[in-house]
Amino acid sequence: MTIALRLAQFVFLLLSAPLLLGAITRLKAILQRRRGASIWRPYAELGKLFRKEDLVPGSASWLFRAAPRLAFALTVTAVAFLPIVWSNGLLSFAGDFIVLVYLLAFARFLMMLGAFDGGSSFGGMGASREAMVSVLAEAPLVLSLVALAVAARAGSLTAIVAWTGAQDFFNISVVHVLAFAALTLVAIAETGRLPVDNPATHLELTMLHEAMVLEYSGPSLALIEWAQAIKLNLMIALLIALFAPWGIASGVTAGAILLSIGLYVVKLGIAIVAIAVLESCVAKLRMYAVPEIFGIAAALSILAIVFTLMMKR
């Protein structure tokens, strides 16, 4: 029964990812007084891309087509560690959040190679910019996760979530506040959202992630876009699980599980509204201003670690 629940939340995270993207886009449209497309549009778009043919540049090797497929598989695997409505992730072991970070790093590594393989300068440009963002994102991401793990005296995501869930909401530690701020900044950059990258742009000079995947089409592009949506879903689910796990089900009763699902949908809704409002309010940053965001995130996460010293045991 519990394995079924763990599997179900894993599959839910994968399949709901395009819906999340659709909801954010729709809400942004409403905020900008447009009607906007249906929230189911990303599914239609993926379906369309899956039916098209895969165009491959003549200069490319087999890596060009292998990269998005493997990167998709790695992103999917990273999702397996997350507990969202049921208190255990599908996979869970000591140090699993490090594996999560590095699975995403591997996926990005492959996509950068795929971009080089296209043989045009846009691929290299996108890969180079993506490399800068990922180099700077990794340290604050790991540092804030380490701060939470030290605070919880735990080694796996599931254990950290269980510990936070047992705490009193109104007595939350300063470590969590700082780590939350740091992780949010990193999550925005990692998923290529505004103000770091604009997922809607197709102007060569301003693109980061989009320039990297410029040469891709058809099913390869569908997998890339799906993986990107899954990554956004993953980051939001990670933030919810780490900083607002209250109400997550740990007993196998229908009531507890339904309550947990309901609460998760509410939390997700808050996250969607927050992203849509933020993206409607800010403009994209100049690329060399992005390191400053990471500087702030790194400083916050280091502070979070310093404050773990003062936590009462």
């Binding site: 003549g58 200069s59 999917v76 996979l91 072991f93 910019r129 340290a139 790991v142």
Partner: protein, 377 residues
């Protein structure tokens, strides 16, 4: 601490390097830095009465040292193979080599992925164990290890990110895309004696990456002799964790590959230009540009751009561009030491007069000193 700093500096210089062999040498500095960082963690845990964590950290250091030996050998041999074929190791001149040397390319890719420290390859095992020992040590209730080890995890993460960017750059510019300016000798075939070692090392990277216990178990016996009191439990979990991840990745990758696709080969989009040439691609130097700009205070690069004729900057006939980096550690750390030694050596040279009488006097004085020393000891 020194380990962490040398790891970061090493990889930063490696990233900005465009000569393959020097890049690999800098990356050795980085990896040795990681190993020392982990040994430092082991000592810190041991001092604070946590032999179990100390054993884990020492194990991580040993595992990473051995893994580094494997993938660094693979990369150096691969670099040798590139030079054999193209007579060049300058990344800015290479490109599209995978088409001409497919086997070497595949093995070199395994080396690059391993050194980038990502899961399913052996470079990750040591780094992951290092992270785990830092994490375990940071949960000791002493302020010193808690702070140092938690921040070490951050340094390790930054190093890992930079290493990944660095080796994307290496493989991407040398093996992928279109050829740049090098000369390929079509008649030189890779001899089997070059390919077999490369293949064997690449296979070792993969096997250890997927089944780390083959390496961890024998090393554990060694560590147990050095630091008694550790338990093998945390080490054993690493193997099962990696296996679960491998299985999930394989299933998902299989599902993604089985999606039915129609492939058509088409030229790369060239912004309306008729055709793209290898010169238009991003080079190794341009790839590392954003990171170099961010870490500008470390590099202290100086640039010189000359356009001639000077009065018509938009219609140049010749452009020369020069960029140099200051090697800070060399200027601040090694130069003074070397200079002092050189000065002392210069003074000592005066002793060597070439006169046999002087030498006899030296021998006499040395004997006298020795007798006096023995007498009054």
């Amino acid at each position: 601490m020194a380990g962490g700093i040398s790891a970061l500096l090493g990889i930063l210089y490696a990233l900005s390097e465009s000569d393959l062999k020097r890049l690999l040498a800098y990356s050795s500095v980085e990896n040795l830095g990681i190993i020392y960082l982990t040994i430092g963690a082991a000592m810190l845990c041991q001092k604070n009465g946590a032999p179990g964590f100390a054993a884990l950290a020492l194990l991580a250091a040993l595992v990473h040292a051995l893994n580094h030996a494997i993938f660094k050998n693979l990369l150096f041999l691969g670099a040798g193979a590139i030079q054999y074929k193209t007579h060049s190791l300058k990344l800015n001149e290479l490109g599209g080599l995978w088409k001409t040397m497919p086997a070497t390319g595949a093995f070199f890719l395994v080396g690059c992925v391993s050194i980038a420290g990502v899961p399913l390859f052996n470079g990750f095992i040591g780094e992951w164990m290092a992270f785990q020992s830092f994490l375990a040590g940071a949960q000791l209730s002493h302020p010193a290890p808690q702070l140092t080890l938690a921040l070490s995890a951050g340094a390790l993460a930054l190093t890992g990110g930079l290493a990944a960017a660095c080796f994307v750059n290496v493989f991407g510019t040398a093996f992928l895309g279109r050829p740049r300016r090098m000369q390929i000798e079509p008649e030189t075939k890779m001899p089997l004696s070059m390919l077999v070692p490369l293949g064997a090392l690449a296979a070792a990277c993969l096997v250890i990456g997927v089944m780390p216990m083959v390496l961890i178990r024998p090393l554990w016996a060694l560590v147990e002799g050095l630091i008694p009191g550790g338990n093998f439990e945390s080490g054993a979990k690493i193997g099962s964790g990696i296996q679960m991840v491998t299985a999930t990745v394989l299933i998902a990758a299989l599902a993604a590959i089985l999606i039915r696709t129609v492939v058509r080969y088409a030229p790369t989009w060239g912004c309306g230009l008729a055709s793209l040439t290898g010169r238009m691609q991003y080079t190794a130097t341009s790839f590392s540009k954003p990171v170099r700009t961010v870490f500008q205070p470390v590099y202290k690069a100086s640039r010189k751009l000359e356009i001639s004729p000077a009065d018509k900057p938009y219609f140049p006939t010749a452009i020369s561009y020069e960029s140099t980096r200051t090697l800070h550690y060399e200027k601040l750390l090694y130069r003074p030491i070397v200079n002092t030694i050189m000065t002392i050596a210069q003074q000592l040279r005066r002793l060597q007069t070439g006169n046999i009488q002087w030498y006899l006097l030296y021998i006499f004085l040395a004997l006298l000193c020795m007798f006096l020393f023995m007498r009054f000891r």
